[in-house]
Assembly symmetry: C2
Homo-oligomer: 496 residues x 2
């Protein structure tokens, strides 16, 4: 039922006509066809997959997107939408002989309505710009992926992006009120609206996280929220993972909802200390917890006191707190530079992304340690502990033949454990081209079929982002083949 | 594209065979066919529409639901699922010559997982039972429709029910983690799961609020949350609607998120005072605001102080506060009995349900007053001010010919205004059979078509709850006809 895009063989004169048509809609400058210019678009943040698109198209508004998509439909051209290209699962990987529709020129904030706490943006508006536009009035846009200064809202919508503060504030889907969409047949549809409760099916929720397979969002209505009056950060160090995990559970079940709650293991702590050399975290801690609370001054003070107590009851050796911005930044510094620090230990690392029920933290971290030992590859754990969103960093050296494949296998085993304990194969990075093969571990054939029927409603010809999100009988084998081929062809390229 | 259920004419012996097949699946006692027993199922909370089903079927678990639905599919029988039947938009109105699938015997709480804060229930579990099951451990289920002691979770899921506390805590969709579904072809599908972030399309969100048109939820995984440490209620009275509306806006834009924020106008206040005679609210207030804040003791005290200040700045004459449960109940008493009180002024009332952006409150209430005068029917306003969810109560006397029709027209005009200011034709009661005609005011043909394509994926033959949610070319005329026919046939029945 999942349509593959039609395989149409086109002559040079076919392409000339197609290009001329696109140029008529978009102008010559906005149809990119030179090989050296196309290079930039061969991959997104998942650099191990590369496909050169035939053309890159740069529409400037909803109507141009609609006309572009209509031409794709007319010529049966597979197409992929791309925002800032920072995604980590290959969601914006182009299709061979297909076109890439870049939203890069759609970067206007269209409306700011402070009274009703909403902002309307075009898809290439950078995540952080939204907050910058409203922070003077005391508001901000809550979802904060770590790439927030470079990633686009359109991409956030496609991937339903999360971030450090999503435990309290929710992921992207909780902050999108409405969308203007161009569907794969070129029709323009409005879903959602100015008020959150709308009758009929929640197509806004359906679209958020659909990874480019249902259409392109050309206008996005976002909810903004009021900045908290006070923020405090606590750093607690533990001598066992179990103790840190128990503290996380106890904090949550006490009713406190921290703005963020991050955990780092001993390996990451030492990587940070080696590289950032900041005397940030105690080197002998088996795990540290960073907990941020926000709200009213009185509320923050009270919650911080209670969190400190809970950490102590669970055996925390030492608890540091910080309220003023500079001190808070100091406590966060190690966490924020953890990926970079770990990356200096080995030439390459692979970030896995999985979710587990919070109560399974100690068990799953133990299993990861066992796997790490049996595979002989170090794994650093830095993750969103509040929502059980793990980000194991698998270290390897890509110049050693077979290392990449082994590390991928290890990453896959970690995902299997996540699924086994009732979790998910992706918390915030998406499935894209990277995790197709794991979808069948998580969903039954009937579950996947149901999703694909929904896809077929919007995308009946399979032209919109083919080969993503859903496994096809061949896709897993093909992906592995493509990747190993790429690794051989580009021995010096950092494949992760 | 919206399939109407096939019109199959069946002989008595056809029905005998159908009944025998259902009895084989469900047992004889669980296939109701006697007219006097079927009476109960002719309508839900919207008593002005009545249709007698051919049969009522009472499956006891997912498998029996699946077998039941498969038989409906085989015999091309249109079917309607029904929970507790308290819905106010006729979502559970049966279909002529169709069957009603009642979930009444599926009322078990299947799992309580306090550590991961979730509960799995069957669809006929009453909303309030969930809280009762976990309150001993300090948890509760947040969505609280005013019918919460009699309405079922399955119905809440179908209608995406709200309640007084939804401004802070969200509506049903924000509290459903996963569903086991029986689709109209009888297949069983699991959507969502134990962790909130799942890859693929958000079919859980799609299903919640789909008003029985996509299938039946047979198991529902709900999020439970921790009870707040403290609660305080404030009552502020105002001499103008504008002032009360401005106070609402100022409270929200100050960053405070009250657990509930309700407004009542002078008409409702006096109705309450006349009937409940409680000295609850000042009779000369043009509007009162009831604001509930919850959280930590210190937080509640601070927020209550700020809310009182904001109300005073906006001209509130008097502010009462209550913290202990008994006093809080006293302040809430008038609000909770408002519908009943208003109902005593005239023999009949019609509750409208619409949503507007909060900032439009004063304008819309002014327009409602003008309409009320020009139609000559009193309108009482009692509503969720925080989320702009209006519940105008239109008073009339059904024994006066034409009164019902006029009041319905007035109700429709109010909805038009809601849509004009960027709002919605339903906040929490749903579209059902009652508001089909207004869908076209809110959505473009393409928007509606897109939703109906989605419907056609799950419900290709139109057997699941036909004639609900989406207008058909004929439906508006038919509904009006049916209603006026019923009014003539049942002059003494309370049609609202």
């Amino acid at each position: 039922m999942l349509s593959s895009p039609p395989q149409v063989s086109r002559t040079n004169s076919d392409w000339k006509r197609i290009i001329r048509d696109f140029e008529q809609v978009l102008g010559r400058r906005n149809v990119i066809q030179r090989k050296e210019e196309l290079l930039t678009y061969e991959c997104d943040g998942l650099t191990s997959y590369r496909v050169r698109p035939k053309l890159v198209l740069l529409p400037r508004d909803t109507e141009e997107v609609a006309e572009t998509v209509k031409l794709c439909d007319r010529y049966q051209l597979p197409w992929v939408a791309r925002g800032a290209g920072t995604g980590l699962s290959g969601g914006a990987l182009p299709v061979e002989n297909g076109v890439l529709i870049s939203t890069a020129f759609m970067r206007n904030i269209l409306d700011i309505d402070l009274e009703n706490q909403q902002v309307v943006v075009q898809p290439a508006v950078i995540n952080n710009w939204v907050t910058e536009a409203v922070s003077g009035s005391g508001f901000y846009y809550a979802p904060d992926p770590s790439s927030q200064i470079i990633c686009s809202i359109g991409g956030n919508v496609a991937e339903n992006s999360g971030g450090v503060h999503c435990f309290k504030y929710g992921v992207t889907t909780n902050h999108v009120l409405g969308l203007k969409l161009v569907l794969p047949d070129g029709s323009i549809v409005d879903v959602g609206g100015e008020v959150p409760e709308m009758p009929g099916y929640d197509l806004t929720g359906l679209f958020v996280g659909s990874e480019g397979t249902l259409g392109i969002a050309t206008e996005i209505r976002l909810r903004i929220i009021k900045q908290a009056e006070a923020i405090q950060v606590l750093l607690a160090d533990f001598t066992s993972i179990e103790a840190a995990g128990a503290a996380v559970s106890d904090i949550v079940s006490s009713g406190i909802i921290p703005a963020g709650m991050e955990m780092m293991d001993n390996f990451s702590i030492n990587a940070v200390e080696d590289v950032v050399a900041s005397n940030c975290y105690p080197r002998d801690a088996v795990a540290i917890l960073l907990v941020e609370v926000d709200g009213l001054e009185v509320e923050v003070a009270e919650n911080a006191k209670r969190i400190a107590e809970i950490c102590r009851q669970n055996g925390a050796r030492q608890i540091e707190t910080a309220t003023d911005p500079e001190e808070r930044l100091k406590l966060w510094k190690g966490r924020k530079s953890a990926f970079a620090a770990v990356g200096k230990i080995k030439p390459d690392y692979y970030v896995q992304d999985g979710v587990i029920p919070r109560t399974q933290l100690p068990y799953v971290l133990g299993e990861i340690e066992k796997l790490s030992k049996s595979y002989g590859y170090p794994v650093a754990n830095v993750f969103h502990a509040g929502d059980g969103n793990l980000h194991p960093l698998l270290l390897y050296d890509n110049s050693i033949p077979g290392a990449l494949e082994t590390v991928e296998k290890l990453g896959g085993e970690i995902l299997k454990i996540c699924v086994q304990v009732g979790g998910s194969i992706s918390g915030e990075h998406g499935i894209g081209a990277d995790k197709l093969c794991y979808m069948e571990q998580m969903f039954t054939p009937v579950d996947l079929e149901t999703m694909q029927w929904v896809r077929s409603v919007f995308n009946p010809q399979g032209l919109a982002n083919p080969g993503k999100l859903f496994p096809t009988p061949k896709s897993c084998g093909e992906a592995a083949q493509l990747k190993s081929q790429l690794a051989q062809e580009n021995p010096n390229v950092d494949l992760f």
